[in-house]
Assembly symmetry: C2
Homo-oligomer: 246 residues x 2
């Protein structure tokens, strides 16, 4: 009401962060980008906490606190806890899937027949790339994704998560089947499923192999793992496929 309202703000006892301190002036006149940072900050916090404590182990209060936002804002922006979880996945899923598809297309470019190792690498390399060079957000997301694959699937709200990746997985299986025409289609599916299981296991819970091998294997060394895992599963496919090379 008062004409020139002096910025009189009641300091909350908890939040001391000055909000909206981003790069306000960058010579852009379309400055309608002020708010969205809260939404993103909630997503970031949710991503980090979900992967750390699991879905049920994380409360919206934890998330709000970590994001420096108000509790009700999670509901304002996302609707519910389940919707927030899906939003965390949806934010990066498409780009990740596009990366996988791109890598597959690249090794099959020009109709040439790739090696088994190339196809298997095309599936794990983009993921590892994100973990190593995508920043903390991507690192959390990938691990969360691996975690989702192992959650009790009775939770219907996370079914759409897996669906994101089904199509591109099918394309990989299709390509593997082309490489091994004498292999039963069923066995191609099994082989690739085992491959996925190893990958998600590795990304999700890196402690076990380190412990069991007394430190001889280090699951955190992703560069090495890419070589080891593609080599092993290529051998598996070749052994089943009955072909000597390709």
């Amino acid at each position: 009401m008062s004409p020139e309202s002096p910025t009189e703000k009641k300091q909350p006892d908890t939040v001391t962060h000055s909000r909206s301190d981003g790069a306000t002036k960058a010579g852009k006149k379309t400055d309608r980008r002020k708010a969205p940072q809260t939404k993103e900050k909630i997503l970031d916090a949710a991503e980090a906490l979900f992967v750390q404590k699991g879905y049920y182990g994380t409360s919206l209060r934890d998330i709000s606190r970590a994001a420096g936002a108000q509790l009700a804002l999670s509901y304002y922006h996302f609707g519910s806890k389940e919707d927030l979880f899906r939003a965390v996945i949806d934010r990066r899923a498409d780009e990740n899937v596009a990366d996988l598809r791109g890598a597959l297309v690249r090794v099959t470019a020009g109709g040439k027949s790739p090696t088994v190792e190339e196809v298997l690498s095309a599936f794990i390399e983009p993921v590892v790339e994100k973990v190593l060079r995508g920043g903390e957000g991507w690192r959390n997301y990938i691990r969360l994704l691996a975690q989702v694959a192992h959650m009790p699937q009775e939770e219907s709200f996370l079914v759409p998560v897996n669906i994101h990746y089904d199509a591109v997985v099918r394309e990989f299986v299709e390509q593997m089947a082309r490489l091994f025409p004498d292999m039963a289609r069923e066995d191609v599916h099994w082989g690739f499923y085992f491959y996925q299981a190893a990958i998600t296991d590795l990304l999700n819970e890196p402690g076990m192999v380190d412990r069991q091998s007394d430190g001889l294997c280090r699951a955190s060394d992703l560069e090495t793992i890419v070589k080891k895992i593609t080599r092993f599963f290529a051998a598996g496919f070749r052994g089943i496929g009955g072909l000597q090379d390709r």
Copy 2:
């Protein structure tokens, strides 16, 4: 005090083996035949619910209700929710590990050298056997075990769970290393780790492969899986091990 309490006692529908409970501290010769069934019923209910809804998704009130027991009894018998979870695992872990060790000893009896398939089978067969013919309790336990392997390991209370199986896993790895003397020890660890990952994935979340293969693969058909998985991973080991047979 109305003598007829609203709590109706249900007769246990399952035969309770008169288990000589060495529960309490020292060697007391007290043979109570009334008490143990409540403790077991709580364990059964916890086992079923933990695997269905996860640790955080299951409340002690859910468990008490399903067990037909009083809420406080979970604390009386087990101390806390985390202790109860550990008790669920501890109840069957030793027998399960013994089965695995027994199967390994059997295929290496008399110092003879087993085939790769035999060693790999010795690791999965006892587990599948329990799932198929061990009753509902074992079926729940095995799946819970697979679930634990995929839980956020920041939860320190479930670390001792995995430890149960580390020793026998090492024995299997040791045997595999003997079968492939030219293989780097590191690679043996990796291969067996991949194998474990596939198994736990399969037992924990059987929906994915069914969906991705449009029903061509059925993860519920454990008999078939044992054949498929041992064949594939045997091929992987042989390919890496560089040896043609064994």
